[in-house]
């Protein structure tokens, strides 16, 4: 064998051994957790609350806060799926299992809408079971498949049958292959508090006002970056861990350019000021803009906005 070839082989074997040492098991390539503190983005508020990040071989539940927030819950789920798929092999598939009732009530998944999360719809495999038993079986089968990058399961009527045993089965399947399972409990809007299951993490999501962008001449502003308000209802990380501020909904924005979350300073509904100076869109999205934005709102006769901004600056 040529010396160049041998060196390449050696480096390959070294990388493999390092991986085995890090994981502790002879697991396939994908299975590591995110780098420390970067599960949701770079040091966002959610990262600070969940320092252990999001585990790959685990079951994460997402529940909507109100029935109309089903789309927001879906968006958050897909954002998490995009984060996981960023760490997965290049051609792994995203398997989305939609129970028939969920598709009828909240709409079917639409391919072009995945573009916001940087996902190519050609990687998507959609499964449409009809009954709750079929849904659970399909989610379990998908979790056992090696080629699946992320499995998103949407349950509606199955929400009644979703208890400790069912969730334990799914959790075991996810742990065995080290695949993340994201369970979107679409039929349980508003009942996140009553759910008891074996999932690792549980999020409750509601829609939040996006940071509005000025529109040229129209009466109403443009909606801006996608915004969510997320409450972490449950996070398993050892006996000594307790979620600070369990009832608080934390606002986050999804930044498609970086495919990560970022913090949002939640503003109350701004009073419309007609004397707003025109600001370029990229300036708005720069990190500093989020801090100087309170000043923009007060650039007219907006006292309330200015006071809010002052209070926030004093707090942070």
């Amino acid at each position: 064998m040529s010396p160049g070839g041998r060196a390449a082989e050696l480096s390959f074997l070294r990388a493999r051994i390092a991986r085995i040492a890090a994981d502790g098991t002879l697991a396939p390539r994908f299975g590591g957790v995110f780098p420390r503190g970067q599960a949701f983005g770079v040091a966002t508020i959610l990262d600070k609350i969940l320092p252990q990040g999001l585990a790959a071989g685990a079951l994460h539940e997402i529940v909507a806060a109100r029935p109309h927030d089903a789309a927001a819950a879906t968006g958050f789920t897909l954002a998490l799926a995009a984060r996981f798929l960023g760490e997965a092999p290049a051609r792994s598939a995203l398997i989305w299992i939609v129970e028939a009732m969920a598709g009828r009530e909240t709409g079917e998944p639409y391919g072009p809408g995945l573009r916001l999360y940087g996902l190519d719809p050609a990687r998507l495999v959609l499964v449409h079971p009809q009954t709750p038993q079929e849904t659970f079986w399909a989610i379990e089968e998908a979790l056992k498949c090696r080629a699946a990058g992320v499995v998103v399961g949407e349950i509606w009527r199955a929400a009644k049958a979703y208890d400790l045993t069912a969730s334990r089965r799914l959790l075991l399947a996810a742990q065995k292959q080290r695949r993340p399972g994201l369970l979107l409990a679409a039929g349980l809007a508003g009942h996140a508090g009553e759910l008891s299951s074996g999932a690792t993490t549980r999020f409750e999501v509601r829609g939040a006002l996006s940071p509005h962008l000025p529109s040229a001449g129209a009466r109403l502003p443009l909606p801006g970056l996608t915004a969510f308000a997320v409450r972490i209802a449950k996070a398993r990380a050892g006996p000594a861990f307790a979620i600070p501020d369990k009832d608080m909904f934390w606002p986050v924005l999804w930044d498609p350019a970086k495919a990560s979350f970022r913090d949002a300073i939640s503003l109350p509904q701004p009073a419309f000021s007609r004397h707003r100076p025109p600001v370029a869109q990229d300036a708005l999205l720069a990190e500093e803009a989020l801090l100087i934005r309170p000043r923009i709102w007060s650039a007219g006769d907006d006292r309330q906005g200015e006071e809010h901004a002052k209070a926030r600056r004093g707090r942070s």
């Binding site: 789309a71 009828r104 809408g113 719809p121 495999v125 498609p256």
Partner: protein
């Protein structure tokens, strides 16, 4: 016997053997028959039920040969070319058919001949039932000669004409010169005669195509329990695998036919996304199908009845399949994983499709159209192993979403408050909840594809002035899409259908999709 109303009188349609022995015939009026024998029992004729029973019987007769055709109204034609030795000879085959059908309660007559017409004639009118395949024409003529002319399947008028001319048997026609008969009775007569004697070939049209590969197993005692049935399916799958390997092909669609001994057949069909010949995987897919069936029918998913005595595995569609290659180079780990991952995904799709139905596992493909509903089409994943990426470029339309994440199958009508003629909505009521709009983007105008012609029925309906509320689809109108955000932070994709004009009716608003 059965009766039916023909031309406003009740007539007899079919009579059984005893009634025929008493002198009753089909076509007689019921009144006459009742006058002769007051105590006869008659049932209403059920042509559809009879056709269904005949179809089921033809299906079951496929245990003898896959090529079975219906011979309405009361016959079945089987093509047993080359298969008679499996049953121990022609006589034994005819005997077996007759006994099995008699065991099911049918009175049947079976005959074998070299042509379908000869078999038809012998079955209905002949005394001997077997016309061996290697008979010379002279011997065939001797066999078929004494049969009456009705054995040629001629219509009643022609038969009447021939009877008037004194021609009653096939012999009479054969011995006479052709030209005068053709001149008087038409060419049909001799065409039938040629077909009967094998001078011209007429194929039968079987109900189902003959499959490419078949393996089957017959049991002396019928199988009832599931384990032996699955074991025999596995053995058959192994044989099939060897057969497929020899021809270098893999199966895409497989059908397992389980023939019951009492006249019913149970079929299980599976489809795969890649050519398959591994027996364990084939059995696994069949098991998933059986599990799905047992969810519907707890006790007897296979409808065993008294047991199966023939099990057949047939390949309905096959594709060339090479031996799996293994790449050996430095990056062997990547190639290994890639190849196996693709195979794993295909196996998952097959399993999900076997249990849920192949149409319920789909992948998306882009279409060249700006109409949002048809921009992506879902195609069954089993038939789409390699799809190109939908979006070649990374998302470059800024950081704001252009299309919603979820799309309602049917847009739901909403009530809005908006400026005319084309202002954005200021508030709207959807599913009985009022939403106030605080931010809006739009309008995005999507017009129907003018290069497509309207369907004729839509055009004619419109020209005739369709009634309001008619169920005909009205022609597609231009849509103005808006992305609206309400005070709660929920974002919707709604549209106004139709442009506002003094002549046109008021445009309607619909909710189509949701953003995250």
């Amino acid at each position: 016997m059965t009766i039916a109303k023909v031309k406003s009188t009740q007539r007899l349609v079919a009579v059984d053997r005893e009634a025929a022995g008493l002198g009753l015939k089909a076509g007689q009026t019921l009144a006459d028959a009742r006058a002769m024998y007051p105590g006869l029992c008659a049932e209403a004729a059920d042509p559809r039920g009879e056709a269904a029973t005949l179809a089921e019987l033809a299906d079951w007769c496929r245990r003898f040969t896959p090529l079975a055709a219906l011979d309405a109204p009361n016959g079945i034609m089987l093509d047993v070319t080359g298969a008679t030795h499996l049953f121990g000879g022609e006589e034994k085959l005819v005997g077996e058919i007759a006994t099995r059908l008699a065991a099911q309660g049918f009175w049947a007559q079976a005959a074998i001949a070299a042509t379908p017409e000869a078999a038809w004639a012998l079955a209905r009118f002949g005394k001997t039932r077997i016309a061996a395949a290697d008979l010379t024409e002279a011997a065939l003529v001797r066999l078929l000669g004494p049969l009456p002319l009705a054995a040629l399947r001629l219509d009643a008028a022609l038969l009447g004409g021939l009877a008037q001319a004194g021609l009653r048997r096939i012999d009479d026609i054969l011995l006479r010169p052709r030209a005068p008969l053709t001149a008087r009775f038409g060419p049909h007569l001799h065409a039938r005669l040629d077909a009967l004697l094998g001078r011209s070939k007429t194929p039968i049209s079987p109900r189902f195509e003959a499959p490419a590969y078949i393996v089957e197993q017959r049991f002396a005692e019928p199988l009832m329990r599931r384990e032996p049935i699955e074991a025999s399916l596995l053995a058959l799958a192994e044989d099939l695998g060897k057969l497929l390997t020899r021809h270098g092909e893999g199966a895409r669609r497989l059908e397992a036919s389980l023939f019951r001994c009492d006249g019913k057949v149970h079929h299980i069909e599976i489809g795969t996304s890649r050519p398959l010949r591994d027996p364990a995987l084939i059995l696994r897919l069949f098991r998933e199908k059986i599990e799905a069936a047992s969810a519907l029918n707890e006790d007897d998913p296979l409808e065993r009845g008294y047991g199966f005595d023939v099990i057949r595995l047939a390949v309905l569609a096959a594709e060339p399949q090479d031996q799996d290659q293994i790449a050996w180079d430095v990056a062997w780990d990547a190639a290994w994983d890639d190849g196996f991952e693709a195979a794993d995904l295909a196996k998952l799709i097959d399993r999900l499709g076997a249990r849920l139905g192949l149409r319920r596992v789909t992948r998306l493909r882009a279409h060249e159209t700006h109409v949002p509903e048809f921009a992506v089409a879902a195609i069954p994943a089993a038939y789409a192993p390699k799809l190109p990426a939908l979006f070649v470029d990374p998302p470059t339309d800024g950081v704001l979403p252009a299309r919603p994440l979820r799309l309602l199958q049917r847009p739901e009508p909403i009530e809005t408050l908006a400026e005319v003629p084309d202002g954005p909505p200021l508030q709207f009521r959807w599913r009985r909840v009022l939403h106030h709009v605080v931010a809006i983007e739009g309008p995005e105008r999507i017009a129907p594809e003018w290069w497509r012609e309207e369907a004729d029925f839509i055009k004619s309906e419109r020209d005739a002035g369709g009634k309001p509320g008619s169920t005909f689809p009205h022609p597609a109108l231009t849509r103005d899409y808006f992305r609206a955000e309400n005070a709660e932070g929920q974002r919707f994709w709604l549209y106004r259908e139709g442009l506002f004009s003094p002549q046109a009716p008021r445009p309607r608003w619909f909710m189509h999709g949701f953003f995250a």
